[in-house]
Symmetry: C2
Subunit: 543 residues, 2 copies
C-alpha cells in the first residue's frame, strides 16, 4: 500500500498550464493548458479544460501573487487559445475518476475560487476574468469568482453551464450558488441559463447579469487594460513587503510525513493518523518579514498535510491532533502578527484563516488531544482544538496540561460561517466566548477547568485517560465514513450560512449525491458516455 | 401502470396510531402505534416506531387542532407504552423502501415537524413532548420540534440518535440541525451524543441541553399537567372560530385527479402533468368562517395534489401550472382574508403559506403558464408563478392575459428562507419588489409588460408561444431527474438560509447522498442488515 503522493507544491518556473506575468500593478495569468500533461494518464486536456494539476498551479499562482508580488493590485485571468477561454473541468477525467476523488477535486477547486474572492475582499487584489472565447462550465465558474467578467462579443462566444443538460451533473464548483447569490441573476433566468447547453452570449449575457462587460475583438486589449487599471485603482489595502515562499519539501515515507513544524504519522492498519503541530522555537523576530516565520511556515505545512490526507490517504478516517511547544511563544507570535502593521503580517493571518477553514472542511474526524506537559493549544493553535470534533484533555496533578488564549482567538480567524470558533462553540451562550477569552487572558486554563468552562469535551485523569481516548478513536474508526461526513458537515457549521457555507453545504452535498446516481456515473449515465455515440439512458424517477 | 394512491386524507375517528383528546385548553396526542397496520405490508411497527401512515395522522392532528380546536393552547405529545416513548422511523420500512420513497418520506416528516414549530410561533399553540421512556432517533427528532421536552428520570430512559453508529445514516428529519442550531447544544457534545448509540439520560441530558426537564415517574403526571398549563398560559395569539375540515375526496382516475378547485391531468407517456388551480366563483362571503371558503379549500386541495405528485407519480418530472378564473375575485378573497381580524382568517393565510412552501420544496420542475384569457395569476395565485422555475406568458392583442398583485404578495406568504417570493425573484434589485407591487396596485399587468418588469420569464405572441412552450417542456422532461432536483434546490432558495432551509438544503442533501451509499443501503450496508446477525461491512474511503 505504497503512497503515490499528489504534488501540491509547485512554482511558476515549473507551471505547465499557466503563464504568470507581472507588469507594474497588474498580473496576468494566462491559462494555456498543456493537453499532453494531465494529472494522471488516460485523458487529454483539450480546449483549456482543467484537472487537479491545472488547479494546483492556479492556487499556487494566487498565493504567490499575494505574498511575492505585493505591488500587484489587479489580476487578469485570461487565455490565449483561439476562440476558447476555458471549457471547464475535463469530462473524461471526471468520468474516469472515483467518487472520492471527484468530491475532493471539487472541494479543492472550490477553495481555490474562494481564495480569489478572499484576496479581493481582504488583500487589495482585484480580479478580472477576460473571456475571449467560449467560457463553459468550470471556466465560467472561475469567471464568477472574479470581481469582473468580460466576454468577447464575436457573435459566437458564450458563457454556459452545460453540466445539467449534457452531463446530468451540476455546475458544482460554486456555479449555481454564485449565479443567484453573488451575481444575483434572477432565478427563473438562471433556470433557463443552466438548462441551455449552448449558453448565452453578447448583449443578453450582459442584460441578464451573467457578465459585466461585452467587448468586441477590436477593442478587447484596450478594454482589458482599462478595466485592469480601474480595478487596481479601486484597491485600498496594501500588501508587502514581498516574501518569497520556499518549498516545504517534507520527508515522506509510508508511515510518516514530516515537515519542520508538522508531522503526520499514519497507521494504515487502524485507519488512523496522528497529526502533530509544533509551536515556534523562539520568540518572534523584530522584523517578522521572513518566509520562515513560524506563523507562516507552520500553517503552510499544515495546509499541505491536510491536502495529502484528503487526496492520498482516503482510508484514514480519524486523526488525533496534538500540539507541542511553548504556549507563551505561540502567544508571542500571535501578538506580534496582530500588532504588526505590515501587509505581510496581515497576509500571514489571512493564510492562517484559510488553512483553518481547510481544516474545518476536511471530511475526516478530528479529535484534538492534550495529554503531554508540552502540549501547546494556545492562541492560533487552540483554534485546532476548537475546530476539532472533540477535544480530550488529560488532568495532571501539576496542571502542566492546559490551554491558553491569545488575540488570535478573538475574531479574526473566522470559520466559513463568519463566526469565530469560540463563538461557534458557545453558539448557545452569547457572551460566553468573551468570558472565556477574558479568563484566558489571566493565564493558562488547566484541563479540569477547561472542561468546566466548555473548552474541553472530555477531561480525565491518568487512570482513565488513555483507555477512554483509545476506545473513542477505535469506535470512531469503526463507523461508516459516509455517515460521519454527513454528520460532521451538519454539526460543525452551526449558525449563519454564507455564500461559502452554501457552496460547501448545500451545493456540494447535492453534487455529491448526483455523482453517485446512475443517471450521471452509471454505465449508461451521461457523464460516463460523454463523447461517445451512445445516448445516455436515464432512470426517470424524481427524488 | 395503475395508480395505487397514497391516502393523505384521514380523520381522528379513523386514526390507527394516535389518540387525540381535547380537554379545556390542552390537547393530548398519544402515540399508540398499531404495529399490525403499517403503511404497506412487510414490516411490523413495533415499539412505537413510525412510517408514513403514522406521520400522515400526526400531520392531520396538528392541522385539525389548529382549525377545529381553537381553544387549545397547549399540545402534549406523549405515549402510553411501558418504558418507550418512540423508537423512531421503522428501520425495516426504511431498509426495504426505494430511494425515492425514503427521500419523500423524510421530506414529509420534516414538513410535519416544521408545522409544529409554525403552530407555536404563529398560532398560539405551544407543544410539550412528554417522553416517558426511550426516545430514539425520529422519536427524539419529534421531541426537538416541540417547544419543551420532558424526559422521565428512571435510570434507564434516554434520548438518543443511534442513526450514525447503528444504521450508517443521519438523524435526517431535522435532528442534527435542530440539535446545534435550535437547541444550540455545544457541537463537540453533539458529536459525542450522535455517536453514542445508547444515548444520554437523566441529569446529563438536561445539563447538555438535550431536554428541558428530567422528571421522576412519581411526579410525572403532575409535572406534565403543570408544564402544559404554563405553556398554555404563555400563548398570546388566539385562533378561531372553529371550523371543521371536510374531506376533499377528489375524483381519481389514471389520467386525472379532480378536486373542486384543483385538477391534475397526467400524461404518463410524456412524463408531464398539467396542474390547474381555479379561482373563486364568487366574492368572499361577509362571514369568512367556512370550511368551503375558496382560500382554504383551494389550497388544501393543492396541498393534497402536491403530495400525490410526490408519492404516487414519481415519473412525472415536469408540471405546467395554469390558473383560471376571475383575477378580481382572487384579489377580493386575498383582501378579505388580510383584513379579517379572526384567528381563523390568519390560520387560512398560514395554511396558504405552508402549502406554497410545500410547492417550493417539491422536487419537480414547475413551469407556470398564462396563455388563456381567463388565466388568473393574481395575488395568492401569482405566488405559484413566482415560485415556479419559469413563467411563460402569451402576448395577446386584447391584453386579456395579464397578472395582478394583491396584498398576498406583500410579504406574508414567505418562502422557507424568510423572503417573499417577489423579494426572492428580485434579490439582485432591492426595491424592485415594492415597485412591482405598486405597479400591480394600478391594475392588470399584461404579458409584454410583465416580461419587461421581470415577472414573466418568457413572453411570446401566438405565432411562437405554443411551439416555444412545447419544446421547453419536452426538453425539461428529457433531462436527468437527479441533476434537475439538485439544480432547482440551488436556484430556488436564494438569499438567507434559515433553520428550515438548512434542514431541506444541507441536512437532507447529505442524507440523500448517504442513502445512496453502499455503507447504508448496499447488500452489506448497516441499514440493510439491521436486526440480522450479519455485521455490516463498510467501504472505508472517506469522501
Amino acid at each position: 500500500m505504497a503512497m503515490d503522493p499528489t504534488p501540491f507544491e509547485t512554482h511558476p518556473s515549473r507551471y505547465r498550464h499557466w503563464k504568470l506575468a507581472v507588469r507594474g500593478d497588474t498580473a496576468t495569468l494566462v491559462m494555456a493548458v498543456d493537453g499532453e500533461h494531465p494529472h494522471r494518464p488516460g485523458y487529454e486536456l483539450k480546449l483549456n479544460s482543467y484537472d487537479l494539476s491545472v488547479d494546483i498551479e492556479l492556487a499556487d499562482a494566487i498565493q504567490r501573487v499575494r505574498f511575492e508580488h505585493p505591488e500587484v493590485k489587479a489580476l487578469v485571468i485570461t487565455a490565449e487559445l483561439d476562440r476558447v477561454f476555458c471549457s471547464g473541468a475535463n469530462i473524461y477525467m471526471l468520468g474516469s475518476s472515483s467518487h472520492t476523488f471527484k468530491v475532493n477535486f471539487c472541494k479543492f477547486t472550490n477553495e481555490t475560487r474562494l481564495y480569489l474572492e478572499d484576496a479581493s475582499a481582504n488583500s487589495g487584489l482585484g480580479s478580472l476574468c477576460a473571456c475571449k472565447g467560449t467560457t463553459a462550465g468550470g471556466g465560467y465558474e472561475l469567471a464568477l469568482a472574479c470581481d469582473e467578467t468580460m466576454l468577447v462579443d464575436d457573435g459566437n462566444s458564450a458563457v454556459s453551464f452545460p453540466e445539467t443538460p449534457l452531463l446530468a451533473v451540476l455546475p458544482g464548483t460554486g456555479g449555481l450558488t454564485r449565479l443567484v447569490d453573488k451575481r444575483k441573476v434572477r432565478r427563473d433566468r438562471a433556470d433557463v441559463f443552466c438548462t441551455t447547453a449552448e449558453g448565452i452570449k453578447g448583449k443578453r449575457a450582459k442584460d441578464w447579469g451573467l457578465v459585466d462587460h461585452v467587448v468586441s475583438r477590436s477593442k478587447w486589449d484596450e478594454v482589458v487594460a482599462e478595466r485592469a487599471k480601474a480595478l487596481a485603482a479601486k484597491q485600498t489595502v496594501a500588501r508587502g513587503p514581498a516574501v518569497q515562499l520556499p518549498e516545504l519539501a517534507p520527508k515522506v515515507t509510508d508511515k510518516l510525513i514530516a515537515y519542520r513544524y508538522v508531522e503526520l504519522a499514519i497507521d494504515r492498519g487502524e485507519r488512523t493518523a496522528a497529526l502533530l503541530v509544533k509551536g515556534p522555537e523562539a520568540a518572534p523576530p523584530a522584523d517578522l518579514t521572513s518566509p520562515e516565520l513560524w506563523g507562516l511556515r507552520a500553517f503552510r505545512e499544515l495546509d499541505d498535510a491536510l491536502l495529502r490526507v484528503r487526496f492520498d490517504l482516503p482510508d484514514i478516517g480519524i486523526l488525533t491532533v496534538r500540539t507541542s511547544g511553548d504556549r507563551k511563544l505561540v502567544i508571542a507570535h500571535d501578538e506580534a502578527l496582530a500588532k504588526a502593521t505590515t501587509g505581510f503580517a496581515r497576509e500571514v493571518r489571512l493564510l492562517q484563516r484559510r488553512v483553518l477553514k481547510r481544516f474545518d472542511n476536511t471530511a475526516r474526524s478530528f479529535y484534538a488531544v492534550a495529554d503531554r506537559p508540552d502540549s501547546c493549544f494556545a492562541g492560533s493553535l487552540l483554534e485546532l482544538a476548537l475546530g476539532a470534533d472533540r477535544f480530550y484533555m488529560l488532568i495532571d496533578k501539576a496542571e502542566a496540561v492546559a490551554v491558553e488564549t491569545s488575540v488570535a482567538n478573538q475574531g479574526f480567524l473566522t470559520m466559513s460561517s463568519g463566526l469565530s470558533r469560540l463563538d461557534a462553540r458557545f453558539y448557545g451562550e452569547p457572551g460566553r466566548a468573551q468570558k472565556v477569552a477574558a479568563r484566558g487572558a489571566e493565564g493558562p486554563i488547566p484541563s479540569e477547568e477547561a472542561e468546566e468552562i466548555g473548552i474541553a469535551t472530555i477531561a480525565a485523569d491518568d487512570i482513565d485517560f488513555e483507555d477512554e481516548l483509545r476506545i473513542a478513536v477505535e469506535e470512531r474508526a469503526s463507523l461508516s465514513p459516509d455517515a460521519l461526513t454527513g454528520m460532521e458537515q451538519s454539526l460543525r457549521f452551526v449558525g449563519p450560512e454564507t455564500l461559502e457555507t452554501k457552496i460547501f453545504g448545500r451545493l456540494s452535498a447535492w453534487q455529491n449525491w448526483i455523482f453517485t446516481r446512475a443517471n450521471s456515473t452509471g454505465e449508461h449515465g451521461a457523464l460516463t458516455l460523454y463523447g461517445q455515440p451512445e445516448r445516455p439512458q436515464f432512470q426517470w424517477k424524481r427524488t
